[in-house]
Point group: C3
């Protein structure tokens, strides 16, 4: 959307129904509360519906059944699912940016490593011996690709990603700046109070369609592999210890920590700053609230919260009870008299 | 203070009053409990006053009304505010270090980017197309400055800072090693258990006089900007999600996490490892204790603590009550009999 | 173990006693539950003993007194301490990998810095003026070694380690990718709501045999040094603030935060995501559970847990009492009637 388009053109593009001026032009996207003239915005959540009367946006994507009290200034474009339509438009704009290809002069690529013509290797990227790099890969400056690392097709490594030797990155993965893949697991043998390092000879395997946030760290396995399964999305500053497995389509918010050898199932939603103990098993389809501590195994389909975590409704009730403890102590003291 | 100065010269410099040997020399700074001969140290907090009898420091900055019981070995220099005087001296020493300028041979600067003569670009720094770089900027090795990034005057980017395209850094900012500015926000549209990426086409705007700690991550907005306002100080390993705003002169200790779209006001003091939920609003002048969890809106001028956070005094009381729960259960069991 | 060896050769190497086929070959290591034919695995914990009947491993290291019910498929090699033997074997394999030496063409080494012939400096590593680098050091791509930094013998700096000027790294240390050593402490003087930076002119001193995890940050002292004593092991994403001291052989799991000037003693075991307040003193031989918050001084030999932390058994009891609060409130209400 570097060029302007009209509400009419937009409606045609997204198969929407226009209410208002079809000729008004848009040239940017905005959140409804910040939108200026020339903006396209959207209302997906009814909580934001009232902004329709104050927004300066030129065009608003709304649901097919959206009703306003009285006339409104912006042009409405009615669609079944405004958020999905908006996301599609954002992705179209993003995809329209030209992609780089070729190896820049200041890059280092070890002898014998093949870089496909469709792939970009920026200056100051370092590709080690024995690495295999797919098609349409984007490797930004200061990335380190260790020996025998495999990078699948269409992967993006943003500036400063570090991948230790022997790790495997699937197709269509995006790894953000400063993420570290394959650092040594935290393994030491204590002997009379002194800790001796145990060599970590495994690797990390990241499957297809995974996104990994900035400065997140994923340790290699002691033996075998640390697994990040298909479709997993990890936010920034997350710690994944050695021999962990994170199941398909599980999403984790920032600063979560997963201790060694813990296995997490599929389609879990994990809030920020949650901590998982080591050597436990988490099932599928759980929702775990922010800052929770998970000391033990968890089954499927739970909503958990707390330190240590418990059922989220029980946690809410406990919080209320704790606030009333003063009156309870007073009551008991009165009863004792 | 690479050269020695005498207590007399120091007193003249800071407009202080000498008690003791005016000719004694100092050549370094130390904390009072660690100070050796040749050190300048200070006492600002009365808790440390007793060290005056044991310290080996040569000169001690003390308050104008500081009294000792009996004679002491070090020379005293009395000033109104020893801590501020010390900070000023530290800053003088630091400022005396020669600043580098010029573009080192192994740097990469895209064609058409102007580097002012006063600015330093180290080897292995990568400055992309369309970037604008101010005067007296220091860009250390392995920094990545993305396309169309603006860097204001007098900014310091320590080694390994990564700034994605289109972000804006104001004047006099200091960004420490490994900090990532402008990585993608954590935005995905779920569909039958699979998450599709929503392009993040906004940016990060950092205003003047901001300091950002090592390995801190600040995500770009989905649309619009993530804002770090004037004078904000962020410690290390902090996560700031997309579309967050952090208000003027708010300070955050290490490992804080702020979830998406949360707006934090001015002059707040946030302890380490605090977590803020997404889409909430925090007012001004709050003090939030370490490791607190903030699930909801907060007004102005509160002292909060806990998970979930509550008034800090209430939290302290609850902690006491929880410790007494055993006796309470016993009391109730006795009453029931 | 790139080459195959037989059970017989292994038993000779580790001084073990064979039960089963002595000619079976092994060529890799695995965890017992994941092992395939050709694998060597081990049983140290009786909880895993039952896998002896289902594993596909070719050889299993077990304790001298290990007994099976009925015949088993893998060959057993009996030793006194299977875990230590396995760790030794892993370390032998790891040590057999050829070590690099020499300065790669794309490295930058400042004039006058001596790189011993046994030391490796990779492309895109930046070694500043006045640095001193020991023998057998491995410096991977994108490391930054600041002015006057000292690196002891046998140190490994993985890709992207950043060490600010004047810091000291002892012998045999391993520092993982993205770790930042010597960034400025978080020191500001408030004045009418505005924070002025206090120059941080101290350094970080890391003693011998320390391992530091990926993306961990250790701030330099305001004056003097931040100390990481001999044998300390720090996991990933840990924050160590200015003027902290961490005592010998203390180990910390990921995402721990230690606030300024706190002194931690020897041989402590600290769980993940624990937070320490500033200006406190922790003794020796404590065990602190994950996510605990430590607001005050701690003596020696405690087991602590909670927020704020308390004795671990008390914390467990409190957790039970809190779960029963509903029935307690009900009881008291009944008693009041």
């Amino acid at each position: 959307m570097r060029m302007e388009i009209s509400a009419l053109q937009l409606a045609a593009l997204v198969n929407g129904k226009i209410e208002g001026d079809p000729n008004i032009k848009i040239n940017t996207f905005s959140k409804i509360e910040e939108a200026k003239a020339g903006s396209l915005t959207f209302i997906a959540n009814p909580k934001y519906a009232h902004y329709i009367h104050s927004t300066e946006a030129s065009v608003v994507l709304v649901k097919s059944d959206f009703q306003t009290e009285g006339p409104v200034k912006p042009t409405l474009v009615k669609v079944d699912d405004p958020y999905t339509v908006l996301a599609t438009l954002l992705n179209m704009v993003s995809a329209a940016k030209p992609k780089k290809s070729g190896v820049e002069k200041l890059a280092y690529v070890a002898d014998g490593v093949n870089i496909p013509a469709s792939t970009y290797v920026a200056g100051f990227a370092y590709i080690s011996n024995g690495a295999t790099i797919g098609e349409n890969v984007q490797i930004f400056p200061h990335c380190f690709v260790g020996e025998n690392v495999h990078i699948g097709n269409n992967v993006i490594l943003h500036s400063g990603v570090k991948i230790y030797n022997d790790c495997v990155i699937g197709e269509n993965c995006i790894i953000h700046s400063g993420a570290v893949i394959g650092s040594d697991g935290f393994g030491f043998a204590p002997h009379n109070g002194i800790y001796t390092k145990i060599a970590q000879i495994g690797n990390v395997v990241i499957e297809d369609n995974v996104e990994i946030g900035a400065n997140t760290t994923i340790d290699r396995a002691t033996m075998g592999s640390t697994f990040i399964r298909k479709g997993v999305k990890l936010d920034n500053l997350i710690q994944v210890a050695h021999n962990v497995e994170i199941g398909e389509n599980t999403v984790m918010a920032a600063q979560v920590g997963v201790a060694g050898s813990t296995k997490i199932g599929k389609n879990n939603m994990i809030g920020g700053q949650v901590g998982f103990a080591g050597h436990i098993k988490i099932g599928d389809n759980n929702q775990i609230g922010a800052q929770s501590g998970i000391p033990n195994n968890v089954g499927d389909g739970n909503r958990l919260m707390g330190y240590p975590a418990t059922d989220a409704r029980d946690f809410a009730r406990q919080t209320v009870y704790i606030k009333k403890l003063k009156s309870l102590f007073d009551d008991v003291n009165n009863l004792k008299k």
